[in-house]
């Protein structure tokens, strides 16, 4: 019932946006800007780049809103535009060597993650560009390795290995920070 009401509200909002009503465009922006910005900061590791990409993405959103089809949610559609714009902005990622990464090492570093969201967010920003993009797309945007491989023009195995690498670096980083604080 709530979903149905939300769908009607979103459909009406899109209609008004297509009529170039500034209040509707602002409402749509307010609804999604914050989440998109955080996602873009994590992907780029830089707030200024994230702001530029967010601006460009919303201009694309308003320009192409007529092409939005309800087989995905509006949020997912906007996110896709943001991610594609960011990938164009950052260019094809160059991946660092995986020599030092033990891909079979899935051992748990026991971390109490409570109140760790901010620490993880900032640690992600510090990751090398390529593995940072893969980790964000897989872990936080819910894309499959196949989709990531396609969007970044890399192989599926590279996507998987870079994801494991990013996760390992993150674990170590968070552990170090915790030890230093502790």
């Amino acid at each position: 019932m709530i979903n149905q009401k939300q769908n009607i509200e979103t459909t009406e909002l899109i209609k008004q946006c297509l009529k170039n009503k500034p209040w509707a465009q602002r409402k749509l922006y307010d609804q999604y800007a914050q989440a998109m910005f955080n996602s873009l900061v994590r992907m780029s590791g830089n707030k200024e780049i994230a702001k530029d990409v967010l601006q460009e993405s919303f201009i694309k959103v308003f320009k192409n809103l007529g092409q939005f089809k309800s087989n995905s949610t509006l949020g997912a559609w906007i996110k896709k535009i943001c991610i594609n714009t960011m990938i164009t902005e950052l260019g094809k990622p160059k991946f660092q060597s995986l020599e030092e990464v033990d891909l079979l090492d899935e051992s748990e570093v026991k971390i109490d993650f409570t109140k760790e969201v901010e620490a993880i967010h900032h640690a992600i920003k510090e990751l090398p560009k390529g593995s940072r993009m893969v980790l964000n797309l897989f872990l936080l945007e819910g894309m499959s390795h196949e989709e990531i491989a396609q969007i970044l023009q890399i192989s599926v195995s590279t996507s998987k290995s870079q994801y494991h690498r990013a996760k390992k670096i993150l674990r170590e980083k968070l552990q170090t920070e915790r030890n230093e604080a502790g």
Partner: protein, 176 residues
């Protein structure tokens, strides 16, 4: 794929990851809004141009004189009244010609007149060729009018002969 505790934690707290970084939303909106309006204005220009083009075409077509029904050029050189007269003459000739062919009956005099009509049409074709080669001038326009007047007279003669023959046939039927 089996989730480890790290992945599980992120999934459970996914929404909180979208609330960490803040930025001046109003300022960015102003920039988006400005660029968005510029883009919308840019979209309007081609539409305005098309509208202007359409209005120009309508005005142009309204200010043009209607084309005379005569299908070749020199008539355009005549003044408006002469154009009307010539068009009227041309229509009369067409009408008479259609009537003559519809009512055509066999008979040596009538056949002879139809032959003459055929020769006149050859002259018409020749005149048209001349218009193409020489271009249009008032002398040719005047020749064209004279031609239609002659054709009209010949057609009247044909119709007269047809009427005469029809009358004779009726009388003959009554007698025999």
């Amino acid at each position: 794929m089996r989730q480890d505790s790290f992945e599980k934690y992120i999934e459970e707290n996914r929404e909180r990851f979208d609330e960490i970084e803040n930025f001046d939303q109003d300022l960015l909106w102003e920039e988006i809004s400005e660029k968005n309006q510029t883009s919308a204005k840019n979209k309007i220009w081609p539409l305005l141009f098309l509208g202007f083009l359409l209005i120009s075409l309508i005005i142009f077509s309204l200010t043009q004189k209607p084309k005379p029904d005569v299908d070749f050029g020199p008539i355009a050189l005549l003044d408006e009244e002469a154009q009307r007269e010539t068009t009227k003459l041309y229509k009369q000739v067409q009408h008479k010609e259609a009537e003559a062919f519809n009512r055509k009956v066999a008979g040596p005099e009538i056949d002879e007149l139809f032959d003459e009509l055929k020769s006149m049409e050859a002259i018409e074709e020749l005149l048209k060729e001349n218009f193409k080669d020489v271009g249009t001038n008032e002398k040719l326009a005047s020749t064209l009018i004279q031609y239609y007047e002659s054709k009209s007279r010949l057609l009247e003669l044909i119709l007269f002969e047809i009427a005469k023959k029809e009358k004779n046939e009726k009388i003959e039927k009554k007698i025999f």
